[in-house]
Subunit: 396 residues, 2 copies
């Protein structure tokens, strides 16, 4: 059994065209017109593949081939970021449908119930929320804000029924996704089994010095907030490097006050995004960063405030699913490597209710969330074949 | 002979009130209503002091006590920055008038012509120009832009006559100014003779890396423009420190692109303000900064562009004027120290046409260009007495 690579590419092209933006890329915000059109197309493909379809209360689209026991599920999210690419989310849906179609055609009715899901939202694509679809599936949505409720009603969805989207009859969720980084490309590896999804913390660091005349204030009388912040930015980088992979830490935003060419900076505010695959590692990273920023600010007589903006625990993929995905890869002639996902995925939410596992294929140049997002066709086909093999091992 | 300290303070108060802003500080932009009102007040004080007044083509106000030979001149600029303080510029004018008034009262007509000048503009207070008044006096204005020309006409000044403001009959210009830094306060010194005004270079540094996903890009695959720029900011600081006083270097502006919390910065643009009292020192500072930024960018595989935005050569104060000011201080019971001015002053422009010298009195907390700008009354009085003594030595 092999999946139809040309069909996969056609479906990816068709989905990419829905929501196409004038300056490149595509945008399918949750409950938007493009989002709805994409859902209709995907539902038709599911039906073409021989699946029975339904929409749940938040608009997740499920395609089902009936069997026994709890479901084996594959899929991904249908929404995109603005100027999003062709593959993020879309690949998991198109590959899922194409793989299940090949299975149903060549192997017939599955022993266990097999489902493909197009998850309504993961990206925070339109509203101040994310993982909206997977949180509904795990019964994790407590409140709906008025804006989202109104958008749901426009799409014929009843926000008071969200609880009905929750499921406890999923056995395993597997997802094929692009890596969104350059690790596989750099290692010339066509596929990875994801071992864990990193935990993330977002910090906001405020460094307070004294604004002074850049000409009349000798170096030894300064309390330069930017010079101090620069030392901290260096520290963030070197701490992440010294902790080793998969620790990463990034200063992505930095603002200087008063930001005048001839004034010593009085205040700097910067952010730190730090990630690690295990909670101990993430905490060690954060503690070292906090401690070194403290030392640096004291040495330089600077004020320091550190605020946690967001915290997400790391999620390990289930060992038995990882082993099964590795076995599927091997049966397709690929020695699977494992890697940590530095980005978030629906699997980390669904892990609360079922066994989860993920496959990554390489991203060319590591580009993602942009029109340049691409993966070699042979890698897309290989990943989809391994996904199909995994679903066969799980459901047949 | 002693100057009238109370009169000096009253004049400073009156001038500060002209252009007072609702949220504190004062603003007298070139050729503005407040600027004109301040000029009228100053001209009246000059006349009260027994000086014959006139305005030149750009609106500099001259008060003259006739004597022989080239003129001995004191004064400062009448314009202010927005939310400016009570003393910057204003002190040099009020102290000049008050000192000359005391001299004329107690010593009578001077042997040499003695003048006080209220220079129309130094701060870049309103238009994209600065040192407007002193450049007119030195014949250094070649072109007038339409906006300034229109503003001049509104004040009854003829922009086609600017060349007539040039003077070649000034022997010596001495100016009392606030330090605008914390050097004198830190050293508990009430007065300094300025040895030189620093040369300044403004650089704009562009660091180019690659924007990447903060989660999916391992530390060793990054080309982080901000981490590189942070190393350069540190280098700028440490090079200035290692060169020693009076070298200063400041990164005052820094912008990050794309400035997202979860994206590795792709581009950083920052400025460097660097100053030194001699040209060799300034060039050494700049060369070391350029060289180290080059090394750091190569180590990190980052693109680097350095552009010179502005360059001003350092200007030494005339040795004989420095000696005279030190002698005047000594005769007032003060052992003068010398210091470099890190800020620019009209004296650096006037140096092209006459002998120049400056006196600094301490700034409380080093504050300047803000409503908190202040100097202890005894220091203001001391500075003005020493200025009067210097003018006496020069003109009587």
């Amino acid at each position: 059994m092999r999946i139809d690579g040309a069909l996969l590419e056609r479906r990816l092209d068709e989905l990419y065209a829905i929501g196409a933006e004038p300056d490149g890329g595509t945008y399918r915000g949750l409950y938007s017109t493009a989002w709805a059109a994409a859902g209709e197309r995907v539902e038709r493909w599911m039906q073409d593949a021989g699946l029975e379809t339904r929409r749940d209360a938040v608009g997740n689209i499920w395609g089902r081939a009936e069997g026994d026991g709890k479901s084996i599920v594959t899929g991904s999210h249908i929404d995109t970021v603005r100027r999003g690419g062709r593959l993020d989310g879309a690949l998991g849906i198109c590959a899922g449908i194409t793989a299940v179609e090949a299975l149903l055609t060549t192997k017939g009715k599955p022993r266990r119930t097999l489902e493909v899901v197009a998850i309504c939202e993961e990206e925070g694509s339109r509203f101040a929320t994310n993982f909206w679809g997977s949180r509904a599936i795990t019964g994790a949505i407590d409140t709906v804000d008025a804006e989202i409720a109104a958008a749901m009603r426009e799409r014929g969805l009843d926000p008071t029924k969200i609880a009905s989207a929750a499921r406890d009859d999923i056995d395993t969720f597997v997802e094929l996704h692009i890596e969104q980084g350059r690790v596989l490309e750099s290692a010339r590896t066509p596929l990875a089994v994801v071992s864990a999804i990193v935990g993330t913390a977002h910090l906001e660091v405020t460094v307070t010095g004294q604004p002074d005349h850049a000409g009349t204030t000798p170096m030894d009388l300064r309390r330069d907030a930017l010079a101090g912040a620069a030392a901290m930015v260096q520290a963030v980088e070197s701490i992440a490097k010294s902790l080793g992979k998969p620790a990463v830490a990034t200063v992505g935003k930095l603002k200087v006050e008063p930001e005048q060419i001839n004034v010593v900076p009085g205040t700097v505010v910067f952010t730190v995004d730090l990630r690690h695959a295990d909670l101990g590692g993430r905490r060690a990273l954060e503690e070292r960063i906090r401690s070194l920023c403290g030392t640096l600010s004291q040495e330089r007589r600077l004020g320091l405030g550190i605020r946690t903006l967001q915290e997400k625990a790391p999620v390990a993929m289930r060992a038995e699913v990882r082993a099964l995905l590795a076995r599927a890869a091997k049966e397709c002639g690929v020695q699977a490597t494992e890697m940590v996902s530095g980005a978030g995925h629906d699997a980390q939410i669904l892990a609360a209710r079922c066994k989860v596992g993920m496959l990554f294929v390489p991203s060319i140049g590591g580009r993602s969330h942009c029109p340049e997002e691409a993966t070699a066709p042979e890698h897309l086909e290989l990943g989809t074949n391994i996904l199909a093999k995994a679903l066969e091992l799980l459901a047949y």
